[in-house]
């Protein structure tokens, strides 16, 4: 059985000059599956916030970051991790717990606006903090009318 999504994974040095490359790649992928202009702009900011967080906080010296994008018919799931190596997407996904509202207020005070913006611009944000690093897992759904449009294009191709 084929998976209900296409999965793309990118690995970059954890350096700020790659934030825009990652943002633009995610924007292209989102556009490909039918997100609206405004939703793509939201995704660009959310992914930049998560990646910037890795660049600033994950490593003392050089390190790497992995960005996974799972594209479904009705949503995109993004995973941003400071693991040095690639991850088994579905394994990591199963280890993340819910991200509570009361947690976000604390984080806003301590960590600035980045996490708050991710939460505000995406439909779901989950954080997994374990021995090997931090993974941000976030989801955004495609507005219903766009889904129909894409479905139509797919069947006529």
């Amino acid at each position: 059985m084929t998976k209900p999504f296409d999965y793309v994974e990118m690995k970059f040095p954890a350096k700020s000059q790659y934030v825009s490359v990652i943002r633009l790649t995610v924007s292209s992928l989102a556009s490909r599956i039918g997100f609206s202009y405004d939703d793509i702009e939201d995704l660009k900011i959310a992914v930049s916030e998560a990646v910037t967080n890795v660049v600033h906080h994950a490593y003392e010296g050089a390190g790497e970051m992995v960005i996974g994008c799972a594209m479904y018919e009705e949503k995109i799931e993004l995973m941003i991790s400071d693991y040095g190596s690639s991850f088994e997407y579905e394994t990591v996904k199963s280890t993340v717990g819910p991200y509570h509202n009361e947690q976000s207020i604390e984080n806003l005070r301590e960590g600035g606006l980045g996490l708050y913006l991710m939460d505000a611009l995406m439909d779901e944000v989950l954080l997994a903090n374990n021995d090997s690093g931090v993974t941000v897992f976030m989801t955004k759904y495609i507005a219903r009318e766009q889904v129909d449009e894409v479905a139509e294009k797919v069947t006529t191709q």
Binding site: R23, S48, Y116, L117
Partner: protein
């Protein structure tokens, strides 16, 4: 990716212009450009963001720091030319309540 920041004196107003994308990579340039501004008592500063195509929390943080410094040193600062997208960001972060911001100039119908 490019980011530019420059200032022009215009009567009693110091006009700043920021152009391009503001993220973690270009932010130090913006910070340096704003930190170089000498604030005197009563100085009015307007920073035009009409040509900013992207900004995230890194950029917002730099404007917050600049805003705080200008206020502390007795000047006034206003951010102008915010696109609907950028205005939305200032709104959801609560910054539009704390800072003096203005949207894109509407074309006047004569």
């Amino acid at each position: 990716m490019d980011m530019k920041v420059y200032f022009k004196e215009d009567d009693n107003v110091l006009r700043g212009y920021v152009e391009g994308e503001i993220d973690a990579y270009t932010a130090p340039q913006l910070r340096d450009g704003l930190e170089a501004v000498e604030v005197t008592e009563g100085l009015n500063i307007e920073v035009d963001l009409t040509n900013v195509s992207y900004i995230d929390s890194t950029g917002l943080g730099i404007f917050v720091a600049f805003y705080k410094r200008v206020q502390r040193e007795g000047g006034n600062v206003r951010l102008t030319g915010l696109s609907e997208r950028i205005k939305h960001l200032f709104k959801i972060t609560g910054l539009s309540e704390l800072m003096n911001i203005e949207g894109e100039k509407k074309v006047k119908l004569s």
